[in-house]
Subunit: 306 residues, 2 copies
Protein backbone atom coordinates (compact mmCIF):
# COMPACT_ATOMS: atom_id res chain seq x y z
CA UNK A 1 0.00 0.00 0.00
CA UNK A 2 1.37 3.45 -0.95
CA UNK A 3 1.77 5.45 2.21
CA UNK A 4 0.62 8.84 3.36
CA UNK A 5 -1.07 10.08 0.19
CA UNK A 6 -4.85 10.07 -0.11
CA UNK A 7 -6.10 10.14 -3.69
CA UNK A 8 -9.48 11.82 -4.15
CA UNK A 9 -10.94 10.32 -7.30
CA UNK A 10 -14.24 9.99 -9.14
CA UNK A 11 -15.71 7.45 -11.53
CA UNK A 12 -14.24 6.31 -14.81
CA UNK A 13 -15.46 8.15 -17.93
CA UNK A 14 -14.94 11.29 -15.80
CA UNK A 15 -17.33 14.20 -16.21
CA UNK A 16 -17.14 17.76 -14.94
CA UNK A 17 -18.73 16.96 -11.55
CA UNK A 18 -16.38 14.02 -10.98
CA UNK A 19 -13.13 15.89 -11.57
CA UNK A 20 -14.10 19.30 -10.16
CA UNK A 21 -15.47 17.62 -7.01
CA UNK A 22 -12.20 15.69 -6.61
CA UNK A 23 -10.16 18.89 -6.97
CA UNK A 24 -12.36 20.86 -4.56
CA UNK A 25 -12.56 18.13 -1.92
CA UNK A 26 -8.81 17.55 -2.00
CA UNK A 27 -8.43 21.31 -1.51
CA UNK A 28 -10.67 21.23 1.55
CA UNK A 29 -8.71 18.30 3.00
CA UNK A 30 -5.35 19.99 2.35
CA UNK A 31 -6.58 22.96 4.37
CA UNK A 32 -7.08 20.46 7.21
CA UNK A 33 -3.43 19.34 6.84
CA UNK A 34 -4.41 16.08 5.17
CA UNK A 35 -2.10 15.00 2.34
CA UNK A 36 -4.79 14.69 -0.33
CA UNK A 37 -4.21 14.67 -4.10
CA UNK A 38 -7.02 15.13 -6.65
CA UNK A 39 -6.87 12.47 -9.33
CA UNK A 40 -8.68 11.39 -12.46
CA UNK A 41 -8.88 8.11 -14.38
CA UNK A 42 -9.63 8.36 -18.09
CA UNK A 43 -9.78 11.18 -20.63
CA UNK A 44 -11.46 14.49 -19.88
CA UNK A 45 -14.43 15.47 -22.02
CA UNK A 46 -14.36 18.84 -23.86
CA UNK A 47 -16.79 20.40 -21.38
CA UNK A 48 -14.59 19.59 -18.38
CA UNK A 49 -11.50 20.80 -20.21
CA UNK A 50 -13.28 24.06 -21.05
CA UNK A 51 -14.25 24.67 -17.40
CA UNK A 52 -10.72 23.94 -16.14
CA UNK A 53 -9.12 26.18 -18.79
CA UNK A 54 -11.57 29.01 -18.18
CA UNK A 55 -10.85 29.05 -14.44
CA UNK A 56 -7.14 28.24 -14.86
CA UNK A 57 -7.18 25.06 -12.83
CA UNK A 58 -4.67 22.36 -13.71
CA UNK A 59 -3.41 20.82 -10.49
CA UNK A 60 -4.57 17.21 -10.54
CA UNK A 61 -3.00 13.85 -11.30
CA UNK A 62 -3.93 11.46 -14.07
CA UNK A 63 -3.70 7.91 -12.72
CA UNK A 64 -3.78 4.59 -14.57
CA UNK A 65 -4.79 2.54 -11.54
CA UNK A 66 -5.80 2.95 -7.90
CA UNK A 67 -4.23 -0.39 -6.97
CA UNK A 68 -2.47 -0.20 -3.58
CA UNK A 69 -3.60 3.40 -3.15
CA UNK A 70 -5.60 4.94 -0.30
CA UNK A 71 -8.60 6.62 -1.90
CA UNK A 72 -11.63 8.76 -1.20
CA UNK A 73 -14.30 8.14 -3.82
CA UNK A 74 -16.26 11.13 -5.07
CA UNK A 75 -19.32 11.22 -7.32
CA UNK A 76 -19.80 7.44 -7.26
CA UNK A 77 -19.63 4.53 -4.82
CA UNK A 78 -20.27 1.37 -6.79
CA UNK A 79 -17.09 -0.59 -7.50
CA UNK A 80 -18.21 -1.26 -11.07
CA UNK A 81 -17.90 2.48 -11.78
CA UNK A 82 -14.56 2.95 -10.00
CA UNK A 83 -11.16 3.23 -11.68
CA UNK A 84 -9.13 0.13 -12.45
CA UNK A 85 -7.54 -1.47 -9.37
CA UNK A 86 -10.32 -0.58 -6.91
CA UNK A 87 -10.41 -4.14 -5.53
CA UNK A 88 -6.88 -3.61 -4.23
CA UNK A 89 -7.32 -0.02 -3.09
CA UNK A 90 -8.12 1.09 0.45
CA UNK A 91 -11.31 3.15 0.38
CA UNK A 92 -11.42 5.50 3.40
CA UNK A 93 -14.22 7.83 2.37
CA UNK A 94 -17.09 8.53 -0.01
CA UNK A 95 -18.72 11.83 -1.05
CA UNK A 96 -21.53 11.20 -3.49
CA UNK A 97 -25.04 12.00 -4.68
CA UNK A 98 -25.97 8.64 -6.19
CA UNK A 99 -27.83 5.63 -4.86
CA UNK A 100 -25.60 3.60 -2.62
CA UNK A 101 -24.40 0.06 -3.17
CA UNK A 102 -21.33 -0.28 -1.04
CA UNK A 103 -20.02 -2.40 1.78
CA UNK A 104 -16.87 -2.15 3.86
CA UNK A 105 -15.34 -4.24 6.61
CA UNK A 106 -14.49 -1.16 8.69
CA UNK A 107 -16.40 2.04 9.43
CA UNK A 108 -15.36 4.79 6.98
CA UNK A 109 -16.50 8.38 6.42
CA UNK A 110 -19.47 8.60 4.06
CA UNK A 111 -21.29 11.75 3.03
CA UNK A 112 -24.11 11.13 0.57
CA UNK A 113 -26.86 13.64 -0.13
CA UNK A 114 -29.62 13.47 -2.74
CA UNK A 115 -28.51 16.69 -4.44
CA UNK A 116 -28.13 17.38 -8.16
CA UNK A 117 -24.34 17.20 -8.01
CA UNK A 118 -21.50 16.11 -5.75
CA UNK A 119 -20.09 19.64 -6.12
CA UNK A 120 -23.15 20.97 -4.26
CA UNK A 121 -22.38 18.73 -1.26
CA UNK A 122 -18.76 19.88 -1.20
CA UNK A 123 -19.53 23.58 -1.70
CA UNK A 124 -22.19 23.45 1.05
CA UNK A 125 -19.70 21.75 3.37
CA UNK A 126 -17.10 24.44 2.63
CA UNK A 127 -19.63 27.18 3.36
CA UNK A 128 -20.83 25.54 6.61
CA UNK A 129 -17.23 25.09 7.74
CA UNK A 130 -16.42 28.68 6.70
CA UNK A 131 -13.69 27.54 4.34
CA UNK A 132 -12.79 30.45 2.06
CA UNK A 133 -13.72 29.51 -1.52
CA UNK A 134 -11.56 31.38 -4.04
CA UNK A 135 -12.61 32.43 -7.54
CA UNK A 136 -11.03 29.43 -9.29
CA UNK A 137 -12.62 26.93 -6.93
CA UNK A 138 -16.01 28.68 -7.15
CA UNK A 139 -15.78 28.60 -10.94
CA UNK A 140 -15.17 24.87 -11.27
CA UNK A 141 -17.72 24.00 -8.57
CA UNK A 142 -20.33 26.13 -10.38
CA UNK A 143 -19.43 24.41 -13.67
CA UNK A 144 -19.88 21.01 -12.05
CA UNK A 145 -23.33 21.90 -10.67
CA UNK A 146 -24.53 23.33 -14.00
CA UNK A 147 -23.13 20.33 -15.85
CA UNK A 148 -24.71 17.66 -13.65
CA UNK A 149 -28.07 19.40 -13.24
CA UNK A 150 -28.13 20.27 -16.98
CA UNK A 151 -28.44 23.95 -16.07
CA UNK A 152 -31.08 23.12 -13.39
CA UNK A 153 -33.30 21.36 -15.97
CA UNK A 154 -32.59 17.86 -14.70
CA UNK A 155 -35.24 16.34 -12.44
CA UNK A 156 -32.44 15.74 -9.90
CA UNK A 157 -32.08 19.48 -9.25
CA UNK A 158 -32.82 20.60 -5.67
CA UNK A 159 -33.32 24.04 -4.14
CA UNK A 160 -29.92 23.64 -2.51
CA UNK A 161 -28.22 23.20 -5.92
CA UNK A 162 -29.70 26.48 -7.14
CA UNK A 163 -28.94 28.36 -3.93
CA UNK A 164 -25.32 27.18 -3.77
CA UNK A 165 -24.79 27.79 -7.51
CA UNK A 166 -25.94 31.39 -7.11
CA UNK A 167 -23.50 31.97 -4.25
CA UNK A 168 -20.67 30.38 -6.25
CA UNK A 169 -21.51 32.48 -9.33
CA UNK A 170 -21.04 35.65 -7.26
CA UNK A 171 -17.59 34.52 -6.12
CA UNK A 172 -16.61 33.31 -9.60
CA UNK A 173 -17.74 36.56 -11.22
CA UNK A 174 -20.30 34.84 -13.45
CA UNK A 175 -23.09 37.35 -14.09
CA UNK A 176 -25.55 35.24 -16.06
CA UNK A 177 -25.68 31.64 -14.85
CA UNK A 178 -27.92 30.38 -17.68
CA UNK A 179 -25.81 31.89 -20.45
CA UNK A 180 -22.68 30.47 -18.88
CA UNK A 181 -24.37 27.08 -18.49
CA UNK A 182 -25.39 26.90 -22.15
CA UNK A 183 -21.87 27.94 -23.20
CA UNK A 184 -20.48 25.11 -21.05
CA UNK A 185 -22.98 22.49 -22.19
CA UNK A 186 -22.38 23.29 -25.87
CA UNK A 187 -18.80 22.11 -25.48
CA UNK A 188 -19.97 18.64 -24.59
CA UNK A 189 -23.21 18.55 -26.52
CA UNK A 190 -21.83 17.80 -29.93
CA UNK A 191 -21.56 14.41 -31.52
CA UNK A 192 -19.88 15.67 -34.66
CA UNK A 193 -16.36 14.45 -35.27
CA UNK A 194 -16.62 11.75 -32.61
CA UNK A 195 -16.78 8.00 -33.28
CA UNK A 196 -19.88 6.17 -32.05
CA UNK A 197 -17.69 4.37 -29.51
CA UNK A 198 -16.33 7.67 -28.14
CA UNK A 199 -19.83 9.12 -27.91
CA UNK A 200 -21.14 6.14 -25.92
CA UNK A 201 -18.13 5.85 -23.63
CA UNK A 202 -17.97 9.59 -22.94
CA UNK A 203 -20.33 9.01 -20.00
CA UNK A 204 -21.04 5.31 -19.64
CA UNK A 205 -21.95 3.43 -16.48
CA UNK A 206 -22.40 -0.22 -15.68
CA UNK A 207 -25.09 -1.12 -13.17
CA UNK A 208 -25.40 -4.40 -11.32
CA UNK A 209 -28.59 -6.02 -10.20
CA UNK A 210 -28.33 -9.47 -8.65
CA UNK A 211 -26.49 -11.44 -11.36
CA UNK A 212 -27.43 -9.10 -14.24
CA UNK A 213 -25.35 -6.24 -15.54
CA UNK A 214 -26.47 -3.50 -17.83
CA UNK A 215 -24.73 -0.48 -19.31
CA UNK A 216 -26.27 2.95 -19.83
CA UNK A 217 -24.54 5.85 -21.52
CA UNK A 218 -25.82 9.38 -21.72
CA UNK A 219 -24.95 12.21 -24.09
CA UNK A 220 -26.50 15.60 -24.31
CA UNK A 221 -27.40 17.21 -27.59
CA UNK A 222 -28.60 20.71 -28.41
CA UNK A 223 -29.55 19.90 -32.00
CA UNK A 224 -31.86 16.89 -32.62
CA UNK A 225 -30.54 16.58 -36.17
CA UNK A 226 -27.21 15.39 -34.83
CA UNK A 227 -28.80 12.42 -33.11
CA UNK A 228 -30.73 11.40 -36.20
CA UNK A 229 -27.65 11.40 -38.40
CA UNK A 230 -25.62 9.19 -36.07
CA UNK A 231 -28.38 6.86 -34.92
CA UNK A 232 -27.64 3.78 -37.06
CA UNK A 233 -23.95 3.98 -36.23
CA UNK A 234 -24.66 4.34 -32.50
CA UNK A 235 -27.02 1.36 -32.44
CA UNK A 236 -24.48 -0.82 -34.22
CA UNK A 237 -21.86 0.16 -31.65
CA UNK A 238 -24.26 -0.47 -28.72
CA UNK A 239 -24.85 -3.99 -30.03
CA UNK A 240 -21.10 -4.55 -30.27
CA UNK A 241 -20.49 -3.28 -26.72
CA UNK A 242 -23.39 -5.33 -25.37
CA UNK A 243 -21.88 -8.50 -26.80
CA UNK A 244 -18.26 -7.73 -25.92
CA UNK A 245 -19.01 -6.76 -22.33
CA UNK A 246 -21.48 -9.60 -21.81
CA UNK A 247 -24.27 -7.28 -20.67
CA UNK A 248 -28.00 -7.97 -20.42
CA UNK A 249 -28.67 -4.77 -22.31
CA UNK A 250 -26.81 -1.62 -23.29
CA UNK A 251 -28.56 1.69 -23.78
CA UNK A 252 -27.70 5.26 -24.70
CA UNK A 253 -29.73 8.27 -23.63
CA UNK A 254 -29.61 11.04 -26.24
CA UNK A 255 -30.76 13.85 -24.00
CA UNK A 256 -32.01 16.93 -25.80
CA UNK A 257 -31.36 19.70 -23.30
CA UNK A 258 -33.47 22.22 -25.23
CA UNK A 259 -36.47 19.97 -25.84
CA UNK A 260 -36.07 18.40 -22.36
CA UNK A 261 -36.43 14.74 -23.15
CA UNK A 262 -34.33 11.73 -24.14
CA UNK A 263 -34.29 9.33 -27.01
CA UNK A 264 -33.15 5.99 -25.62
CA UNK A 265 -31.28 3.76 -28.07
CA UNK A 266 -31.04 0.15 -26.95
CA UNK A 267 -29.19 -3.07 -27.73
CA UNK A 268 -29.75 -6.47 -26.14
CA UNK A 269 -32.75 -7.40 -23.99
CA UNK A 270 -35.33 -4.63 -24.41
CA UNK A 271 -37.80 -6.15 -21.95
CA UNK A 272 -36.36 -4.37 -18.88
CA UNK A 273 -37.01 -0.89 -20.23
CA UNK A 274 -40.31 -2.01 -21.73
CA UNK A 275 -41.51 -3.30 -18.36
CA UNK A 276 -40.13 -0.30 -16.46
CA UNK A 277 -42.12 2.11 -18.63
CA UNK A 278 -45.03 -0.19 -19.49
CA UNK A 279 -44.37 0.32 -23.17
CA UNK A 280 -43.36 -1.58 -26.29
CA UNK A 281 -40.19 -0.73 -28.17
CA UNK A 282 -40.81 -1.81 -31.76
CA UNK A 283 -37.49 -0.75 -33.25
CA UNK A 284 -34.21 0.05 -31.45
CA UNK A 285 -35.20 3.29 -29.77
CA UNK A 286 -37.94 5.31 -28.13
CA UNK A 287 -38.28 8.98 -27.18
CA UNK A 288 -39.23 9.71 -23.56
CA UNK A 289 -40.45 13.28 -22.99
CA UNK A 290 -39.18 14.78 -19.72
CA UNK A 291 -36.48 12.14 -19.20
CA UNK A 292 -33.38 14.13 -18.30
CA UNK A 293 -31.58 12.14 -15.63
CA UNK A 294 -30.17 8.64 -15.92
CA UNK A 295 -30.01 8.13 -12.18
CA UNK A 296 -33.42 9.58 -11.36
CA UNK A 297 -35.61 8.99 -14.41
CA UNK A 298 -34.20 5.72 -15.76
CA UNK A 299 -32.10 3.58 -13.39
CA UNK A 300 -34.52 3.41 -10.40
CA UNK A 301 -37.39 2.37 -12.69
CA UNK A 302 -35.34 -0.54 -14.01
CA UNK A 303 -34.25 -1.49 -10.49
CA UNK A 304 -37.86 -1.56 -9.31
CA UNK A 305 -39.13 -4.00 -11.92
CA UNK A 306 -36.10 -6.23 -12.17
CA UNK B 1 -47.15 4.03 3.56
CA UNK B 2 -47.85 6.22 6.62
CA UNK B 3 -47.63 9.82 5.51
CA UNK B 4 -45.75 12.83 6.74
CA UNK B 5 -44.07 11.36 9.83
CA UNK B 6 -40.40 10.43 9.74
CA UNK B 7 -39.42 7.92 12.42
CA UNK B 8 -35.81 8.23 13.58
CA UNK B 9 -34.89 4.81 14.91
CA UNK B 10 -31.85 2.74 15.85
CA UNK B 11 -31.07 -0.96 15.91
CA UNK B 12 -32.95 -3.64 17.80
CA UNK B 13 -31.58 -4.52 21.25
CA UNK B 14 -31.34 -0.74 21.70
CA UNK B 15 -28.46 0.70 23.70
CA UNK B 16 -27.85 4.20 25.03
CA UNK B 17 -26.24 5.47 21.81
CA UNK B 18 -29.07 4.12 19.67
CA UNK B 19 -31.92 5.75 21.59
CA UNK B 20 -30.21 8.99 22.62
CA UNK B 21 -29.01 9.52 19.03
CA UNK B 22 -32.54 8.97 17.74
CA UNK B 23 -33.92 11.51 20.24
CA UNK B 24 -31.23 14.10 19.48
CA UNK B 25 -31.39 13.73 15.71
CA UNK B 26 -35.19 13.98 15.69
CA UNK B 27 -34.78 17.14 17.77
CA UNK B 28 -32.41 18.63 15.20
CA UNK B 29 -34.81 17.77 12.37
CA UNK B 30 -37.80 19.23 14.22
CA UNK B 31 -35.89 22.52 14.50
CA UNK B 32 -35.71 22.40 10.69
CA UNK B 33 -39.52 22.04 10.52
CA UNK B 34 -39.32 18.35 9.63
CA UNK B 35 -41.96 16.19 11.27
CA UNK B 36 -39.58 13.72 12.91
CA UNK B 37 -40.39 11.38 15.79
CA UNK B 38 -37.72 9.56 17.82
CA UNK B 39 -38.57 5.88 18.16
CA UNK B 40 -37.21 2.71 19.72
CA UNK B 41 -37.79 -0.98 19.06
CA UNK B 42 -37.25 -3.35 21.99
CA UNK B 43 -36.72 -2.92 25.71
CA UNK B 44 -34.38 -0.31 27.14
CA UNK B 45 -31.42 -1.55 29.16
CA UNK B 46 -30.92 -0.24 32.72
CA UNK B 47 -28.07 2.06 31.66
CA UNK B 48 -30.20 3.81 29.02
CA UNK B 49 -33.11 4.13 31.45
CA UNK B 50 -30.77 5.66 34.05
CA UNK B 51 -29.48 8.28 31.57
CA UNK B 52 -32.98 9.21 30.42
CA UNK B 53 -34.28 9.47 34.00
CA UNK B 54 -31.28 11.50 35.16
CA UNK B 55 -31.73 14.07 32.41
CA UNK B 56 -35.55 13.92 32.51
CA UNK B 57 -36.00 12.87 28.88
CA UNK B 58 -39.03 10.80 28.04
CA UNK B 59 -40.37 11.96 24.70
CA UNK B 60 -39.96 9.04 22.33
CA UNK B 61 -42.22 6.38 20.86
CA UNK B 62 -41.97 2.64 21.34
CA UNK B 63 -42.81 0.94 18.06
CA UNK B 64 -43.51 -2.72 17.34
CA UNK B 65 -42.73 -2.49 13.62
CA UNK B 66 -41.43 -0.02 11.03
CA UNK B 67 -43.54 -1.58 8.29
CA UNK B 68 -44.99 1.08 5.95
CA UNK B 69 -43.15 3.79 7.87
CA UNK B 70 -40.72 6.38 6.52
CA UNK B 71 -37.55 6.01 8.59
CA UNK B 72 -34.12 7.46 9.20
CA UNK B 73 -31.80 4.79 10.59
CA UNK B 74 -29.39 5.82 13.31
CA UNK B 75 -26.53 3.84 14.84
CA UNK B 76 -26.80 0.99 12.31
CA UNK B 77 -27.40 0.47 8.61
CA UNK B 78 -27.52 -3.28 8.03
CA UNK B 79 -31.06 -4.57 7.56
CA UNK B 80 -30.33 -7.59 9.76
CA UNK B 81 -29.95 -5.21 12.73
CA UNK B 82 -32.99 -3.08 11.93
CA UNK B 83 -36.37 -3.31 13.69
CA UNK B 84 -39.01 -5.69 12.41
CA UNK B 85 -40.68 -4.58 9.16
CA UNK B 86 -37.62 -2.87 7.65
CA UNK B 87 -38.16 -4.64 4.30
CA UNK B 88 -41.41 -2.73 3.92
CA UNK B 89 -40.19 0.59 5.33
CA UNK B 90 -38.97 3.53 3.28
CA UNK B 91 -35.43 4.40 4.41
CA UNK B 92 -34.66 8.04 3.60
CA UNK B 93 -31.53 8.57 5.67
CA UNK B 94 -28.74 7.01 7.72
CA UNK B 95 -26.58 8.45 10.51
CA UNK B 96 -24.11 5.88 11.73
CA UNK B 97 -20.60 5.01 12.87
CA UNK B 98 -20.45 1.36 11.81
CA UNK B 99 -19.15 -0.38 8.71
CA UNK B 100 -21.59 0.00 5.89
CA UNK B 101 -23.50 -2.73 4.11
CA UNK B 102 -26.42 -1.01 2.50
CA UNK B 103 -27.93 -0.50 -0.92
CA UNK B 104 -30.79 1.65 -2.12
CA UNK B 105 -32.50 2.17 -5.46
CA UNK B 106 -32.57 5.96 -5.01
CA UNK B 107 -30.02 8.42 -3.62
CA UNK B 108 -30.68 9.08 0.08
CA UNK B 109 -28.91 11.13 2.75
CA UNK B 110 -26.13 9.21 4.47
CA UNK B 111 -23.80 10.51 7.16
CA UNK B 112 -21.34 7.93 8.41
CA UNK B 113 -18.19 8.81 10.34
CA UNK B 114 -15.70 6.48 12.02
CA UNK B 115 -16.28 7.99 15.46
CA UNK B 116 -16.75 6.17 18.75
CA UNK B 117 -20.48 6.86 18.82
CA UNK B 118 -23.32 8.05 16.62
CA UNK B 119 -24.02 10.69 19.28
CA UNK B 120 -20.65 12.30 18.48
CA UNK B 121 -21.64 12.72 14.81
CA UNK B 122 -24.95 14.31 15.79
CA UNK B 123 -23.50 16.57 18.48
CA UNK B 124 -20.76 17.73 16.10
CA UNK B 125 -23.37 18.44 13.42
CA UNK B 126 -25.42 20.45 15.93
CA UNK B 127 -22.37 22.47 16.93
CA UNK B 128 -21.30 23.13 13.32
CA UNK B 129 -24.83 24.21 12.45
CA UNK B 130 -24.99 26.35 15.61
CA UNK B 131 -28.04 24.52 16.90
CA UNK B 132 -28.49 25.37 20.58
CA UNK B 133 -28.00 22.19 22.61
CA UNK B 134 -29.90 22.36 25.90
CA UNK B 135 -28.91 20.69 29.17
CA UNK B 136 -31.16 17.64 28.71
CA UNK B 137 -29.93 17.00 25.17
CA UNK B 138 -26.29 17.50 26.19
CA UNK B 139 -26.77 15.04 29.07
CA UNK B 140 -28.13 12.20 26.96
CA UNK B 141 -25.62 12.80 24.14
CA UNK B 142 -22.78 12.71 26.66
CA UNK B 143 -24.21 9.49 28.15
CA UNK B 144 -24.32 7.93 24.69
CA UNK B 145 -20.70 8.82 23.93
CA UNK B 146 -19.47 7.50 27.29
CA UNK B 147 -21.53 4.35 26.88
CA UNK B 148 -20.38 3.49 23.37
CA UNK B 149 -16.72 4.39 23.90
CA UNK B 150 -16.73 2.61 27.29
CA UNK B 151 -15.63 5.86 28.97
CA UNK B 152 -13.06 6.47 26.16
CA UNK B 153 -11.40 3.10 26.80
CA UNK B 154 -12.70 1.45 23.64
CA UNK B 155 -10.27 1.27 20.72
CA UNK B 156 -12.95 2.99 18.65
CA UNK B 157 -12.52 6.25 20.60
CA UNK B 158 -11.36 9.25 18.54
CA UNK B 159 -10.09 12.69 19.55
CA UNK B 160 -13.39 14.10 18.31
CA UNK B 161 -15.36 11.91 20.75
CA UNK B 162 -13.35 13.25 23.67
CA UNK B 163 -13.50 16.88 22.52
CA UNK B 164 -17.26 16.78 21.91
CA UNK B 165 -17.90 14.92 25.19
CA UNK B 166 -16.04 17.64 27.12
CA UNK B 167 -18.13 20.37 25.51
CA UNK B 168 -21.34 18.45 26.23
CA UNK B 169 -20.30 17.86 29.86
CA UNK B 170 -20.01 21.61 30.36
CA UNK B 171 -23.54 22.19 29.03
CA UNK B 172 -24.94 19.23 30.99
CA UNK B 173 -23.31 20.38 34.22
CA UNK B 174 -21.28 17.17 34.61
CA UNK B 175 -18.09 18.09 36.48
CA UNK B 176 -16.23 14.78 36.44
CA UNK B 177 -16.74 12.90 33.19
CA UNK B 178 -15.00 9.70 34.34
CA UNK B 179 -16.92 9.42 37.60
CA UNK B 180 -20.16 10.01 35.74
CA UNK B 181 -19.16 7.41 33.12
CA UNK B 182 -18.45 4.73 35.72
CA UNK B 183 -21.73 5.50 37.47
CA UNK B 184 -23.51 5.06 34.12
CA UNK B 185 -21.66 1.90 33.10
CA UNK B 186 -22.32 0.22 36.45
CA UNK B 187 -26.04 0.31 35.69
CA UNK B 188 -25.50 -1.92 32.71
CA UNK B 189 -22.46 -3.83 33.85
CA UNK B 190 -24.15 -6.32 36.06
CA UNK B 191 -25.19 -9.81 35.14
CA UNK B 192 -26.77 -10.55 38.49
CA UNK B 193 -30.46 -11.18 38.47
CA UNK B 194 -30.61 -11.54 34.70
CA UNK B 195 -31.22 -14.78 32.81
CA UNK B 196 -28.48 -15.93 30.42
CA UNK B 197 -30.82 -15.21 27.53
CA UNK B 198 -31.43 -11.64 28.69
CA UNK B 199 -27.70 -11.07 29.16
CA UNK B 200 -26.88 -12.24 25.63
CA UNK B 201 -29.76 -10.42 23.93
CA UNK B 202 -29.12 -7.17 25.83
CA UNK B 203 -26.76 -6.16 22.99
CA UNK B 204 -26.77 -8.81 20.30
CA UNK B 205 -26.09 -8.32 16.60
CA UNK B 206 -26.32 -10.61 13.62
CA UNK B 207 -23.70 -10.18 10.90
CA UNK B 208 -23.94 -11.47 7.36
CA UNK B 209 -21.07 -12.57 5.23
CA UNK B 210 -21.90 -14.05 1.84
CA UNK B 211 -24.25 -16.91 2.79
CA UNK B 212 -23.07 -17.22 6.41
CA UNK B 213 -24.61 -15.55 9.42
CA UNK B 214 -23.10 -15.20 12.84
CA UNK B 215 -24.30 -13.58 16.02
CA UNK B 216 -22.16 -11.67 18.49
CA UNK B 217 -23.36 -10.29 21.79
CA UNK B 218 -21.43 -8.03 24.11
CA UNK B 219 -21.85 -7.30 27.79
CA UNK B 220 -19.68 -5.21 30.00
CA UNK B 221 -18.66 -6.29 33.47
CA UNK B 222 -16.87 -4.46 36.23
CA UNK B 223 -16.29 -7.55 38.35
CA UNK B 224 -14.66 -10.62 36.71
CA UNK B 225 -16.25 -12.89 39.32
CA UNK B 226 -19.65 -12.24 37.80
CA UNK B 227 -18.58 -13.67 34.45
CA UNK B 228 -17.08 -16.78 36.00
CA UNK B 229 -20.21 -17.59 37.97
CA UNK B 230 -22.49 -17.35 34.95
CA UNK B 231 -20.19 -18.87 32.34
CA UNK B 232 -21.64 -22.38 32.06
CA UNK B 233 -25.17 -21.02 31.88
CA UNK B 234 -24.19 -18.49 29.20
CA UNK B 235 -22.46 -21.11 27.03
CA UNK B 236 -25.48 -23.40 27.20
CA UNK B 237 -27.70 -20.50 26.08
CA UNK B 238 -25.30 -19.54 23.25
CA UNK B 239 -25.51 -23.11 21.94
CA UNK B 240 -29.29 -22.97 22.08
CA UNK B 241 -29.43 -19.63 20.24
CA UNK B 242 -26.92 -20.84 17.65
CA UNK B 243 -29.11 -23.80 16.82
CA UNK B 244 -32.44 -22.00 16.94
CA UNK B 245 -31.30 -19.10 14.77
CA UNK B 246 -29.43 -21.35 12.34
CA UNK B 247 -26.17 -19.41 12.75
CA UNK B 248 -22.64 -20.46 11.82
CA UNK B 249 -21.47 -19.44 15.24
CA UNK B 250 -22.71 -17.39 18.17
CA UNK B 251 -20.39 -15.57 20.52
CA UNK B 252 -20.57 -13.37 23.58
CA UNK B 253 -17.92 -10.84 24.53
CA UNK B 254 -17.64 -10.43 28.30
CA UNK B 255 -15.84 -7.11 28.28
CA UNK B 256 -14.11 -6.23 31.53
CA UNK B 257 -14.06 -2.44 31.45
CA UNK B 258 -11.61 -2.21 34.36
CA UNK B 259 -9.13 -4.84 33.13
CA UNK B 260 -9.64 -3.68 29.50
CA UNK B 261 -10.06 -6.97 27.72
CA UNK B 262 -12.76 -9.45 26.72
CA UNK B 263 -13.45 -13.07 27.40
CA UNK B 264 -15.14 -14.43 24.28
CA UNK B 265 -17.57 -17.31 24.87
CA UNK B 266 -18.43 -19.22 21.75
CA UNK B 267 -20.93 -21.77 20.42
CA UNK B 268 -20.95 -23.36 16.98
CA UNK B 269 -18.08 -23.24 14.49
CA UNK B 270 -15.04 -21.95 16.36
CA UNK B 271 -12.79 -21.94 13.30
CA UNK B 272 -13.67 -18.38 12.23
CA UNK B 273 -12.43 -16.80 15.44
CA UNK B 274 -9.49 -19.22 15.57
CA UNK B 275 -8.39 -18.21 12.06
CA UNK B 276 -9.04 -14.52 12.68
CA UNK B 277 -6.73 -14.51 15.69
CA UNK B 278 -4.37 -17.32 14.61
CA UNK B 279 -5.14 -19.19 17.80
CA UNK B 280 -6.69 -22.40 19.04
CA UNK B 281 -9.73 -22.39 21.31
CA UNK B 282 -9.55 -25.61 23.31
CA UNK B 283 -12.68 -25.17 25.37
CA UNK B 284 -15.61 -22.80 24.84
CA UNK B 285 -13.91 -19.51 25.55
CA UNK B 286 -10.73 -17.46 25.36
CA UNK B 287 -9.60 -14.20 26.94
CA UNK B 288 -8.32 -11.50 24.57
CA UNK B 289 -6.40 -8.70 26.31
CA UNK B 290 -7.15 -5.24 24.89
CA UNK B 291 -10.29 -6.37 23.04
CA UNK B 292 -12.87 -3.73 23.91
CA UNK B 293 -14.87 -3.15 20.74
CA UNK B 294 -16.96 -5.66 18.85
CA UNK B 295 -17.00 -3.60 15.68
CA UNK B 296 -13.35 -2.65 15.69
CA UNK B 297 -11.49 -5.47 17.46
CA UNK B 298 -13.59 -8.49 16.51
CA UNK B 299 -15.93 -8.17 13.50
CA UNK B 300 -13.42 -6.81 10.91
CA UNK B 301 -10.94 -9.60 11.74
CA UNK B 302 -13.62 -12.22 11.06
CA UNK B 303 -14.68 -10.45 7.84
CA UNK B 304 -11.10 -10.44 6.59
CA UNK B 305 -10.48 -14.16 6.91
CA UNK B 306 -13.89 -15.40 5.89
Amino acid sequence: MEKDIIYVIGHKSPDTDTLCSAIAYAGLLKKKKINAVPAVYGDLNPETQYALDLFKVKDFQKVKTVKNKTVILVDHNEASQSPEGIEEAKVIGIVDHHKINFSSSDPIEIDVKPYGSTATIIAEKMMTEQFKINKQMAGILLSAILSDTIIFKSTTTTKTDIKIAKELAKIAGVDNIKTFGIELKKKKASLSGLSAKKVIYSDFKIFELADKKFGIGQVEIVDPKEGKEKKAELIAELNKINEEEGLTFTALMLTDIMKEGSEVLIAGDKSYIEKAFKTKIESDSLYFPGMMSRKKDLVPKIMEIA
